[in-house]
């Protein structure tokens, strides 16, 4: 594993750890949800780094001859799914945060005592 050649993989790991750090030190439930999106964005960097090909074109053949060398479209389709699912998960989690605040009157994850029993 050489440093310059595998640089994006390190960035992905760094972003993942940053997001986890945010979740651990979070004092607000919305802050926690945003940290979760940071965790998820590390998978974009990882997938993008895996699928990239030096000197390749974007896999859209509008205005491009069909034999051209392109980067991997399958990995990009995976990322597209990832982005969509992230949105839906965040929408649902935020609704839960709002509901927890309305029922419990707090947004701090440490004070959610009313969940017990």
């Amino acid at each position: 594993m050489k440093f310059p050649a595998d640089y994006p993989y390190f960035v992905a790991a760094w972003i993942l750890l940053c997001g986890l750090y945010g979740i651990v030190r979070s004092k607000h439930l919305v802050h926690m949800v945003i940290s979760l999106t940071v965790v998820q964005s590390s998978t974009y960097v990882l997938l993008l780094a895996i699928g990239f090909r030096r000197g390749g074109y974007a896999p859209v053949f509008a205005g491009l001859h069909t034999g051209a060398r392109v980067v991997d479209p399958i990995v990009q389709a995976l990322m597209l799914t990832d982005v969509v699912v992230e949105t839906t998960v965040v929408a649902l989690l935020l609704a839960m945060v709002v509901k927890a605040y309305e029922k419990g009157g707090t947004t701090s994850p440490d004070d959610l005592r009313f969940l017990r029993g």
């Binding site: 974007a58 859209v60 491009l64």
Partner: protein, 83 residues
């Protein structure tokens, strides 16, 4: 390597002050940084697609121009009225 790509690389350096404005300080200051980022990014995307001769990708700067205008106004209104 052409003149568009060179311009894009130089222009992208101006994202650093935007990050400085966007990542610290009060919410209003961050909003200003965000608006500036939207403008710079629109120009940057146009430069990149010119550099690669892929004109069909012009949808992206268009979307960005439309949405950053709307999003900036929405954020400003919400900051002013509700928060």
């Amino acid at each position: 390597m052409n003149v568009w790509m060179l311009t894009a690389t130089v222009t992208s350096a101006s994202l650093v002050p935007c990050a400085w404005a966007c990542l610290r300080g009060s919410a209003e200051r961050r909003l200003v940084g965000l608006e500036m980022t939207g403008i710079i990014l629109t120009i940057l995307l146009v430069l990149l697609l010119m550099a690669r001769q892929r004109l069909p990708f012009v949808d992206m700067p268009l979307t960005l121009a439309l949405l950053t205008f709307g999003a900036g106004l929405v954020f400003a209104r919400f900051l002013e009225k509700h928060l």
